[in-house]
C-alpha cells in the first residue's frame, strides 16, 4: 500500500487514479452487517473480495491509499516493466553475436522507459478497478481501518459491522538501522520509480530477490551499480549453483559485487552519498548518487490496533495465523505479506482465497507453501518450487536431482540463452517430484510446467512420455525426466557419452 497519492498528475496518472482511487470518491453508507470485511486492497485483498462477492457474500473492502497494492504500484508490475527495458537495452551489447551489429550503442532514454512503465501500470489497473469491484457489489471504503474491540472494526470513525475480517495489509520495505542512512537519503522499492533520471552511480544494499533484480536492471540500463550483500551468497533462499550463476551474470554485466559485506555507516559529501562497508576486517567505501535499500519487508500491522481485538502478532512476522490462516481471534483471518514468510503476489492471492473459503465456507483448506512457485527476475531468471535439497535432508527424505544444462538444449543454443539449468528433485526409490530449480532466461514460465506436474501428481516416468514442442527450452524438463528413465530402467541402454537427441 502506498501512503501518499502522487502529487503531479500526467494523463496516465489521472487515468490510473480514476481506476484505483477516484478523486471524487465518497465512501458508501455501511450495510448493517458484512459477511466479510477486508483490510487492504492489494493482490490479497482484491482476490479475497472477488472470491467472496462472486459467491454471494456481502463484502467491505477497506484501503487507506490506492487499489492494487505494492504489486501494481511499486513492485511486480513496474519492476518487470523496467527489467524488460533493461533486457532490450542491455541485450544490444551482444547484438553482433547474432550478426546484427549496431553502428554504436544508442543513448538510453530514461524518461521514455518510465513513461512506458506508467502506461503499463495504468493499463493493468483496469483489471483491479474501483469500477469493476463495485460492479461485483463490493463496498469500497477508502480510509484507515482499526479494531476497536474483538468484534468492532472502524474505518476512520465509521463502524463496519462484520461476521469475519480478513487482514490483507501487505508489507513495506524494511529499513536497516545504519547510522547516517536517513540523513544521507536513500530510496526503496517504493520510491525508486519516482526517479526522473538514471543515476550515474547506484549503490544497492541487499542481495535478496528485489535487490538483485533492481541492481541488475539499473546496471543494464547503464548505471554503475555496486551491490552489497551481508551473506556469502546472493539469494540465500536458493541453492548455491543458482546463486553462483547469478553472481557471474551480474559480474558479466559489469556490476561491482561486495558479498559478505555489511554497511556500517552512511554519510553525504556534497552531492555524493557514501556507504562505509566492512568485509571481515577490511573497511571500504562506496560512492554513489543514489542508494537503494532492499533489505527485506516488514508487515503493515501497526495501525490496526490488533491487541484491541485479541489478535496475536509479531512486529517482524506479522499476524500470527494457524495452518488455516486464522488468527488468535476466531473471526479474524489474515493473508499475504501481512502474515506469510513468502512475500510474493501469487502466494498472497492463493492464501487470500483459501482464507476466505475457510472463514465463510468452513472449507478447512490448509495454506501450503510447498506448491507455490517463485521467481527472481534477474538475467537469467531463477525460479523454484517445492522442497530444496536441504529441506529433504532435514526431513530424512532420500533425494536425487536430475539436472539438464541449458547449454545442452537445442533451443537455448539457437536462442543464445544458454546460461542456466533445469534441476528436478525426485524422491529416491520413486518417481515422485519433490521440487525443482530452474535457471533460464524464461524460468518464470518454465517453472509453471513443474507446478502443473506437481499439483496433478505426475511423476518422472509419465513426464518422460509427454511430447513437447521441438525445439523449445522446456524440452530441458522432458530431458531431465528421460535422464531419470535411463538412470532407473535397467532395460534401457546406458549411453553416457554423446549429446541427447532433443
Amino acid at each position: 500500500m502506498q501512503r501518499t497519492t502522487p502529487a503531479a498528475l500526467s494523463d496516465d496518472e489521472a487515468s490510473l487514479l480514476r481506476r484505483v482511487r477516484p478523486q471524487d470518491w465518497r465512501n458508501p453508507r455501511p450495510k448493517s452487517l458484512y459477511d466479510l470485511a477486508i483490510i487492504g486492497a492489494g493482490p490479497a485483498g482484491i482476490a479475497a473480495a472477488e472470491y467472496a462477492a462472486r459467491r454471494g457474500f456481502t463484502v467491505a473492502l477497506i484501503e487507506r491509499a490506492v487499489l492494487g497494492g505494492d504489486s501494481l504500484h511499486t513492485g511486480s508490475v513496474p519492476s518487470k516493466a523496467i527489467i524488460r527495458t533493461a533486457d532490450i537495452y542491455g541485450g544490444m551489447r551482444d547484438a553482433d553475436e547474432f550478426g546484427a551489429p549496431l553502428p554504436e550503442q544508442p543513448a538510453f532514454d530514461f524518461a521514455a522507459a518510465m513513461d512506458r512503465l506508467r502506461r503499463i501500470r495504468t493499463r493493468i489497473a483496469v483489471y483491479h478497478s474501483v469500477h469493476d469491484l463495485t460492479a461485483l457489489g463490493i463496498d469500497i471504503f477508502f480510509g484507515e481501518a482499526r479494531f476497536a474491540g474483538p468484534d468492532k472494526l472502524v474505518v476512520d470513525a465509521t463502524p463496519l459491522p462484520f461476521r469475519k475480517v480478513l487482514i490483507a495489509t501487505g508489507a513495506r520495505p524494511k529499513i536497516p538501522g545504519i547510522p547516517g542512512l536517513k540523513e544521507t537519503g536513500y530510496r526503496t522499492s517504493s520510491t525508486i520509480f519516482e526517479m526522473t533520471a538514471l543515476p550515474k552511480r547506484l549503490a544497492v544494499i541487499g542481495g535478496g530477490p528485489l535487490g538483485c533484480e533492481l541492481a541488475q536492471a539499473f546496471c543494464r540500463m547503464g548505471a554503475q551499480v555496486t551491490i552489497v550483500q551481508n551473506n556469502p551468497k546472493f539469494l540465500p533462499r536458493e541453492e548455491r549453483d543458482a546463486a553462483e550463476i547469478l553472481n557471474w551474470s551480474m559480474a558479466r554485466d559489469g556490476m561491482e559485487i561486495r558479498l559478505n559485506t555489511v554497511v556500517i555507516a552512511a554519510r553525504r559529501e556534497g552531492d555524493t552519498k557514501i556507504l562505509e562497508t566492512l568485509n571481515n576486517e577490511v573497511k571500504g567505501e562506496i560512492a554513489a548518487d543514489e542508494i537503494l535499500v532492499c533489505t527485506g519487508r516488514v508487515p503493515n500491522i501497526e495501525a490496526l490496533d490488533l491487541a484491541a481485538a485479541g489478535i496475536a502478532s509479531n512486529p517482524r512476522r506479522g499476524v500470527t495465523v494457524d495452518g488455516f490462516l486464522c488468527s488468535s481471534n476466531p473471526d479474524v483471518y489474515a493473508a499475504g505479506d501481512a502474515c506469510l514468510p513468502l512475500k510474493f503476489t501469487n502466494a498472497a492471492q492463493s492464501s487470500a482465497r483459501r482464507a476466505v473459503a475457510n472463514a465463510l465456507l468452513q472449507a478447512g483448506q490448509k495454506h501450503d507453501n510447498s506448491v507455490i512457485p517463485w521467481c527472481t527476475y534477474c538475467s537469467p531468471e531463477i525460479a523454484h518450487i517445492g522442497l530444496q535439497v536441504w529441506d529433504a535432508h532435514r526431513q530424512s527424505i532420500p533425494i536425487k536431482s536430475y539436472t539438464v544444462m541449458l547449454n545442452d538444449i537445442d533451443r537455448a543454443i539457437t536462442d543464445g540463452e544458454e546460461t542456466g539449468f533445469v534441476k528436478i528433485h525426485v524422491a529416491e526409490g520413486s518417481d515422485r517430484i519433490l521440487g525443482a530449480t530452474i535457471v533460464a532466461s524464461h524460468a518464470s514460465e518454465l517453472i509453471n510446467e513443474i507446478a502443473v506436474i506437481m499439483s496433478t501428481g505426475i511423476g518422472m516416468q509419465a513426464l518422460a512420455e509427454v511430447i513437447h514442442t521441438y525445439p523449445a527450452q522446456s524440452g530441458a524438463i522432458m530431458l531431465a525426466a528421460q535422464a531419470y528413465r535411463r538412470d532407473t530402467d535397467s532395460t534401457v541402454l546406458q549411453t553416457p557419452s554423446g549429446k541427447p537427441l532433443v
Binding site: 551482444d94 553482433d96 553475436e97 547474432f98 556469502p232 551468497k233 541453492e239 548455491r240 549453483d241 553462483e244 550463476i245 557471474w248 559480474a251 558479466r252 559478505n260 571481515n280 576486517e281 535439497v389 536441504w390 535432508h393 532435514r394 532420500p398 533425494i399 536425487k400 536431482s401 536430475y402 539436472t403 544444462m405 547449454n407 545442452d408 544458454e418 539449468f421 534441476k423 529416491e428 535422464a483 531419470y484 535411463r486 538412470d487 546406458q494 549411453t495 553416457p496 557419452s497 549429446k499
Partner: protein, 428 residues
Amino acid sequence: MGGFSHLSDEMLVSRLQRAAFSYLTDYADADTGLVADTSRPGSPCSIAVVGFALSAYPVAVENGWLSRAKAARLTLRVLKFFLDSAQSEAPDATGYKGFYYHFLDMKTGRRVWQCELSLIDTALLIAGVLVAAGHFDGDGIESEIRDHADALYGRVDWHWAQNSTSGLSQGWKPECGFLHYGWEGYNEATILYILGLGSPTFPLSASCYETWSLTYQWENLLDHNVLYSGPLFTHLFSHAWIDFRGIRDGFMREKNSDYFENTKSAIAIHREYGERNPYEFEGYCRDLWGVTAGEGPSVASSRGKGRDRRFYGYMSRGVPYGPDDGTISPWAMLATLPFTPEAALAGTRHLLERYPQVCSDDRFSSGFNPTLRDGDGGWLSQGWFGLDQGLLAISIENHRSGLIWEIMRRCPYIRAGLAHAGFSGGWL
C-alpha cells in the same frame, strides 16, 4: 611429443613423478624446512604444501630418491619448526589453537599477507604429519618424529573451530575472529572433518559431519550419478590420503556408492563436458580437461566466436555449472591416475603432444588457457605451484603402490575419525 613420446606409460609417469617430487626439496628452506607455495621469487610458504612434502618424503624413500635417514632428518626439521613456532593471538604468530596461518614467511615462519588461520590447510599439513608418523616406525630420530607428530596433532583445537555452532568455520583472523564463509555442498574438506573427528584431545562434535552432509547434492549430471562438486581438485585432495575404495559413510550407503567411485563419476563428467565444450573453448575435448581451482589469466574481457570472453585470474573453476574461462590445470588429468588410469594417460599424452609448453623441466604449469591468444600457444601460468606438484607425487604413488593409502589405513586417528563420521565396510 618431443621428449616424452618414446617413453612407455610407466617411464613417463615415473619421470613426471620424480620431477614433481623434486619441487618439494628444491623449494624448501634449508633452515625451517618450510616449502614455498610457488617457484616464483619471494614466494611465502603454504602450509598445505608442507603437508604434501611430509607425505612425499616416504614416497622418495621407497623410490630411492632420498635415503631414509635424510628423509627422517628433513621430516624432523619441519616438525620441530612447527612445534616450536609462535602460537598466539598475535597478528604475526605462526598459528593459534594448534592451527596455522595459510601462508608463512619462509625464513621466520611468521604469518604473511594478513592471511587467515586456515582450517583446511592445517588439515592438509596435519595429514602429512600423520603420514610421517606412520612411515617412520624406527628408533632414535624416527621415534622423535612420532612424538612430535602426536604433539602437533594433539594440540589442534578442532572443537574451537566450530565457533559454538554445529558446523565449521572456514578460518579465523586475529583482526576479526571467525570468517563468515560457510561450507555449502561437498568439497575437499572430508580430510578436515576426519582429522577433526579423530582427535583424541579436542574433537569436533559428532553432529558436525552430518551438518555438512545436509548440504550435499546427489545429482544425475550429464548422465552420471555424482555427489556434486565442480572443481576437479575437490575430488582428489582428501583421496590423496584416504583410500575410499569400499568404505562408505551414511550418505554413500544410501546412494550405493563410495567416494572413490564418486571421483570416477566426476572425472567422467569433466571428460564429457570437455567433449561437448559448450563455451567453444580452444582445445577442449575428451582428452583435454581439468577445470579446477588455480591461476588463470588476469586480463580484460575480450570477444571471440561472437561471445564475451571473461578471464578470472586466480579462481576456483568448476564443471558443468562453471565458472569456466577456458583455463585448465595441466597437472590435473595426470592426478586422476589412481581413479581412471586410461583417461589420465590418454589426456596427459594428448596435452603433451599438442601443447608441449605446459611441461617445462618435466613439471606441469599450474594453469593453461589456449583460448586466450597470448603470444603463440595460449596463456601459461609462470613457474610451478607446490600444491600441484605435491598432489601429483602422492597420487601417482598411490596408483603405483598404494603407499600413502596403506600408511593412513594403519593410522589410528584416521580410523577413529572415519568411524566417528559413520564410515564402515571394506578395510575398516
